[in-house]
Symmetry: C2
Subunit: 160 residues, 2 copies
């Protein structure tokens, strides 16, 4: 086995830091624009609702966000409390709780798009298109590697 790269900083540290700093920047952008009660963690939910433009059951948000349902219960409660969405009971299936954006929630759309463009521009300063593509290819590769590895753990666990 070849000697491992004792990098001055492991790739996972690098990735954690990038994620944290970018979240921090997003947080500040939201704050700067007077948006209260929304944090980056809500992004998956809100973007999903932007796309769907219809009342959506919580279970869909669970899938779309990768979070556990109790987390989604809490997050939608927070977003409802701040007036970005409303939750109503389902009709065909009474177990469903349907979630949809309010006008205040829909109004975030443009701002969010602007912000993600701005942050993406910041991220890629001094990195040309080919390098960007090489980077996302490598990251996709790693993403797949980790998913495969995790699948093994899960498979083993299901055998027990």
């Amino acid at each position: 086995m070849a000697e491992r790269m004792e990098s001055p900083e492991g790739i996972l540290d690098l990735i954690s830091r990038i994620r944290e700093t970018s979240s921090e920047i997003l947080r500040r952008e939201l704050e700067k624009n007077g948006i209260e009660g929304v944090v980056p963690a809500h992004g998956k939910i809100i973007f999903y609702l932007f796309r769907e433009e219809r009342p959506v059951p919580l279970s869909e948000l669970v899938k779309a966000s990768g979070r556990v349902k109790s987390t989604i219960t809490g997050m939608t409660a927070t977003l409802e409390k701040h007036g970005y969405l409303i939750r109503t009971g389902g009709f065909e299936d009474k177990r469903n709780v349907l979630v949809e954006l309010t006008p205040k929630g829909r109004a975030l759309r443009e701002l969010f798009n602007d912000i993600s463009i701005r942050v993406l521009d910041q991220i890629y300063i001094g990195i040309d298109r080919p390098e960007q593509e090489a980077l996302t290819d490598s990251l996709s590769h790693i993403d797949r590697n980790l998913k495969d590895a995790l699948a093994l753990y899960i498979a083993k666990e299901n055998i027990q």
Copy 2:
């Protein structure tokens, strides 16, 4: 401005997912080895204590971890509760709370090293050394870009 890469998946999603999956794998590795009460978030603290091998004030852990002091108060309390470290009052400066690993805490060292090697190997399957280096270079570049961007926000804020 060139058209932006409307990637099937933004780089930040990719990075978030990698971080999450790798944390999940670390969590399972710890669990598999019967380690209770330790989660990936404790890594920075524990590795710092591995390196120092002396009673360390909380303030150092704050710096080393990048977390806020109230977070460190909580995390060291958790780790103490599970017997990995002890907190004692300082002597020269009575405000200091000194933290040091117990034998049970020091015993984690080898395991942690093994685990990080294993995960790193998983991550880099099918990615050769030059690609690894290009990847970490790009990520370091982005890390710097984001830090610079964040510094601007902070500077602006301090002017207000």
